[in-house]
Each structure stands twice: as C-alpha cells, then as structure tokens.
C-alpha cells in the first residue's frame, strides 16, 4: 500500500513536469533575479516608480496599457494628488453632453490609461504596419515572463553578417525569429530619474519590467501575503486533524 502511494506520488510529480510545455524556440533566456519572485516577493517601490516613468516617457508613445486605470496607480505608491495630475495631462473624449455633442476634457483618475492611438489601424499606420501590443498583461502573456521582457529590451544587437534583415525590422537576440519591428527603445540616459538613479539601459529595462509585472498582477503582494497566512494555518490545521484521526482510530488499531 505504501509503495502504491509513493509510486502514485512519483507518477503524479512526473506527470506534472512532463506536461509543462517545452520552452519556446530561440536562445535560452538569461535568468534574472527579481525581488518580486518567490513566495515572500514584493515589488521594489523605487523600481515601480522609475519603471512607470520609463513606461510613461518611452513605451507609452506606442504601447497602450488598457487594463490600467489612473486610479490603479495608487498601487505603486502614488498619492491621489499625483494621480490626478498625471491623468489631467491627457485629453479624454467624453459625452455626449446635453446638446448631444462629444467633447474633450482632461483625464480623471477614473479613466483608463489613455492609449497612444485611437485604434489598431491608426497604430499600424503610425508604426510601419506593425501593431505594438498592449502591455498590461505582457509579463503574464509570454513564456519566461519578466525574464523574457528584460531579455527583449536588452537583446538588441547588430545583425550577424549571414542574417538578411527585412525592411524596417531590427535584430534582437531573444525575439522569436530575431527580427522585431520595435526599434531599440531604451538608450543610456533616455530618462532622468527623480531619485538620482543612473538611467542605464539595464536599470531602465529592469525597472520597466518590474512596473509591467505589477500591471500584469497588481494583486501579487496581497496574494502572496495572504497565501503565507493561509498555508501556515492549513499546515497547523492538518496537524490537528491528523491528531484527531489518530485518536479516533486508536481503539481500532489496538
């Protein structure tokens, strides 16, 4: 019986690993250390703020962030005041008003993060036919998650001599097929961080990845912190139920 149980467990474990999908094509992604990984992981507030700045000043020129409302930015530590100011930087179409006309007004915290283009076609027209995807869920929507995103942002190289580049595409070591429509987005000193952090390509890539990990899973810290409590409780509870079980069955095993 015990053998059966052990083998069943082993079989299950094997089944799980065996069925995890095999890695995507392309070179293996370098494994970065992310402070938000692991069961006690939390987002570094400084990185979240800097990452948001990188998104706002660089990425948001082409990529939307449609699942984020300005009010959500409270989650990265911005104050209500700051959020109102950031939202108000953008114009939002609202209406119809009493006369039946649409009108423009400054953005509010309750608005969706304003997208750079009105729709996909406008976006393609502006981007040489390519469509920069929405970034809200990017970290969850690619194999490798944050490692993939970081690798893409830092993976621009000169194309090897034997690679024939297509018009308007850029060589990237980690992009499937190596030819990516997004031009090198980050360059040294491209943004000026308020906290004085030097804006190297690596720092900007790390920070914006951290920010996008947050936009993908804004519940992550709450989830993990609750999880630790729940699991601890359940382990104790399991111990108790085992003790009760032993006690109830004691007379039968005698």
């Amino acid at each position: 019986m015990r053998r059966f149980a052990l083998s069943a467990l082993a079989a299950l474990a094997f089944g799980l690993t065996a069925t995890t999908p095999n890695a995507a094509e392309g070179p293996a992604l370098p494994k970065e250390h992310w402070p938000f990984a692991g069961i006690f992981g939390t987002f570094d507030r400084g990185a979240l703020n800097r990452g948001f700045q990188v998104y706002k000043e660089v990425c948001s020129a082409c990529h939307s962030l449609s699942l984020i409302y300005y009010r959500h930015l409270e989650g990265i530590g911005l104050t209500a005041e700051e959020i109102r100011a950031i939202a108000a930087e953008k114009e939002v179409t609202d209406g119809p008003n009493d006369e039946g006309d649409m009108f423009k007004r400054p953005g509010r915290p309750s608005d969706r993060y304003v997208a750079p283009f009105a729709n996909e076609n406008a976006s393609r027209t502006a981007n040489n036919g390519a469509y920069p995807p929405d970034l809200s869920l990017m970290v969850k929507a690619r194999k490798g998650g944050p490692d993939y995103l970081y690798a893409i942002l830092t993976g621009y190289k000169d194309a090897p001599a034997d690679v024939k580049m297509m018009d308007g595409l850029h060589y990237n070591e980690f992009f499937p097929g190596h030819q990516i429509a997004m031009p090198l987005p980050l360059s040294e000193g491209g943004v000026t961080f308020a906290d004085g952090t030097a804006a190297t390509v690596e720092t900007m890539a790390r920070d914006v990845t951290t920010f996008l990990a947050w936009t993908a899973e804004p519940e992550m810290e709450q989830r993990k912190q609750l999880g630790v409590k729940v699991v601890l409780f359940l382990i104790v509870f399991t111990g108790l139920t085992y003790a009760v079980k032993r006690k109830v069955w004691a007379d039968l095993h005698a």
Partner: protein, 415 residues
C-alpha cells in the same frame, strides 16, 4: 437500522414528515464502511468537496463575468483587478479545475487497481465514466470563457473535430458554433452550457453515491464485508479521515492558488482572442493531453476522433473486459505489474500530447496509443484466464486485527 429517537421536538416533528435527519444518520452516521479502507478511498469525498468549491466560486464569478466576444476578456481582467477578492475567486476556480481532474484521476486509478468496477459495482462505475465525460465537457467550455488566444483556438480545434464525420460533419460544426466560425454565439452557448453542466454533474454525483450506498464500498482486499466486525461506522471514522485528507489537499491547493496560480495555464491565454493570429502551439489543458495524443497519433482524422472517444468509452466495457473474479490488484501479481505499465502509458500519452506530433513524439504516441487499447481489449481478458491470483484472506477483520501473519502463512502454504 432503526432511526434513533430524536430528542429535539422540532427535529422529531420534521423527521416524522420528511426523514432527512434519519437519512443523514443512516447514510453518513452509521453507514458501515470497511475498516481497512486506505487513503485512496478519501478521494471520492475530496472530489465532492472540490465540486462544491467549483460551484461556489463559479457562481460568484458569473456575477461579474460578461459572456460577449468583445467583453469577456476584459470582464475577466476586471474580476482580477477591481472586484473585491476577484483574483482569489478566479484563481480558485482556475486551479480548481486542474485539482478536480487530479483528484478524479487518482479516484479512477484507485478503482482500476482495486477492481472497484467489478460485480456488483458496475453501475457505480458507469456513472463515474458519465461524470468524467460531463467534467470534460464542462472543463472544455469553461476554458473558452476567458476568450484568450488558447480559449479561442482550443475551441476552434476541438469543435472542428466533428467535421471528420462524413456527410453531417460540417453541419454539426456549424450547428455547434451557431455560425460559420467560433464567435459570439459560440461563447454565449458555451457559457450557458458550462453553467448548466456543472449542475448536471451534481445530479450524476448524487446517483453515483446512491449506487455506492446500495452496494457499499469495495476495499483494498477486494473481498466482501462479512459482518459488523469488518466495518466501522462512517462517522467518526471516515469523516475524520476524509477531513485529514481534505486539509492536506487544501494545503497543497493553496500553494498553487497563492504562489503559482498560473502553473497549469498557458501564457497565450493572457492574449485576447484573435481569429487572425494562430498561436504557434495550440495545446489543450494538461488533463486533456493524453486524449489529444491519441487523436493526433492516428493519421486519419475520423479514426483519430473515434479512437479519442473510444479511449473513454472502453471504460464502459471494462467490467466485461476484465475477466478475473479477483477484485484487488494486491492479489493479482501479474495484473499489478501491468497496472503500473498502464499508468506510465497514460503519463507518456500526456507527455506526447504536450509536444508537436513529429518525429520521435509521433512514434512514441503511436506506441502508447496502441498499448492503451491493448491493455483493455487484449491484456485484461487474457490475464483473467491465465493469471494465478494469490489466495484471498477469509475476512477483512482477520488480517487487520493482527491476522496478517496468519494470512501470509496461508499464502506460503499454497504457493
């Protein structure tokens, strides 16, 4: 087996008119369970509790979900972000689906090992197979609801299978879709059916338990209970054992929900459905991978589809295919070995199903598919005739109550 005298007058008043208290007393209180049941017998009640968890989380998710092709994806993300504890609900439901299949597959393999499908529990087994089919349909349609890339393309690939049937195939597919492609009408009906089938499962489980309580549980020795010395009352003995199992399960389940909620998922399903972009690898959820492997290991589409459905329907024939009268694998030295070969075969099929059907995987898939059917259709009937089972103990209470030595001695005598 008389109901106890209910002391509480309200209880007595109700019970006289509708004996629900007596019913619970008989079916969950004094209901006799073989005293030698091991922990594999706790997976039934575990499956029942997972079903309740699925219903509870699913109903609340439905409060907030919008079954429309242009809104479904965003409504799910709204649940994740703006609904209070929405992420918890969704991750419970999402991982609960996988947990349900793990629990039920273990429950089934338990039945296979201990011969629980044999006389007199055939109908109980059939109901189980029906439940499995219902679960598969429910899980498949549920996976479509978030309307991500895998939802959409999984639905497209699987519904397209019906086009393999000659003459009527194409019409069936159009009928399933409610149009000429997977689109809003498909999503709408899948939502309705997903919700409906969950409750059909509840009904099927009720009948499953009815059949169980008529013939009572089998046990690890596979021999009949002979009297009160072989059984214990369900409460507190089995309730406490089930409770312990449940807490172990919940601990492991919580680790997935809170720390690795997307472990069983595909990143592609966080990309909104796009009919114009096909993902490079369309893979079903892990619990469908073995069937998917069977489907793809056969070059002819219709035969592949039939083999895939056949891999489940063969379970209906199992009580007749297995010709051995001995239930428990513990007393069937040869069957026991082949049981494990079969388990490995199923895992190999799952592994193959996760990979593209090319080269090495294609060959492995074909061998594993043939073996799957060989196990049921050829091996089991023959084993029953050729295998020499070990002598069975005379009763459950004997080997349990220190009679183990005596039973072993008997084995040696006859060997």
């Amino acid at each position: 087996m008389n109901a106890p005298e209910w002391k509480n007058p309200v209880v007595r008043w109700i019970d006289f008119r509708l004996p629900i208290f007596s019913f619970v007393y008989h079916e969950l209180g004094v209901y006799p369970a073989p005293r030698n049941l091991n922990y594999f017998w706790t997976f039934g009640s575990l499956a029942g509790i997972v079903l309740v968890i699925m219903l509870a989380s699913g109903i609340v998710l439905a409060f907030n979900y919008t079954p429309h092709a242009t809104m479904a994806f965003d409504s799910v993300e709204r649940i994740m972000r703006d609904v209070n504890w929405g992420w918890l609900l969704r991750y419970i439901h999402m991982n609960g689906g996988s947990a349900f299949f793990i629990v039920v597959y273990i429950h089934m393999f338990r039945g296979l090992y201990y011969g629980s499908y044999k006389y007199p529990r055939e109908v109980l087994w059939f109901l189980g197979v029906i439940i499995l089919l219902l679960m598969m349909a429910t899980a498949f349609m549920g996976y479509v609801l978030p309307w991500g890339q895998m939802s959409f393309w999984g639905a497209t690939v699987i519904t397209n299978l019906f086009s393999a049937f000659p003459l009527v195939g194409e019409s069936i597919v159009t009928w399933l879709w409610g149009g000429y492609s997977v689109d809003n009408p498909t999503l709408n009906r899948f939502f309705a059916l997903h919700y409906l089938l969950a409750f059909v499962i509840v009904g099927a489980v009720a009948v499953h338990l009815w059949a169980l309580h008529v013939q009572k549980s089998n046990n690890p020795l596979g021999i009949d209970t002979k009297g009160p010395q072989d059984t214990v009352p369900f409460h507190p003995y089995m309730t406490v054992k089930d409770l312990f199992s449940l807490s172990v399960f919940l601990t492991v389940f919580s680790m997935f929900v809170f720390f690795a909620p997307n472990f069983f998922g595909e990143p592609d399903n966080y990309i909104p459905a796009n009919p114009l972009v096909t993902p490079p690898h369309i893979v079903p959820e892990w619990y469908f991978l073995p069937y998917y492997a069977i489907l793809r290991s056969i070059p002819d589409k219709l035969t592949g589809v039939l083999a895939m459905f056949g891999s489940i329907f063969v379970l209906f024939l199992l009580p007749w295919l297995d010709t051995s009268r001995v239930r428990s694998g513990s007393f069937r030295p040869t069957y026991k070995k082949f049981f494990w070969v079969f388990v490995v075969d199923c895992i190999v099929l799952g592994y193959v199903g996760a990979n593209p059907p090319e080269g090495y995987f294609l060959i492995l898939g074909r061998v594993a598919t043939i073996y799957y059917f060989f196990h049921f259709i050829i091996l089991l009937p023959l084993l029953g005739w050729f295998e020499r089972p070990l002598p069975l103990p005379t009763s459950i209470s004997q080997p349990v109550l220190g009679g183990r030595a005596a039973a072993t001695a008997r084995h040696m005598e006859k060997a």
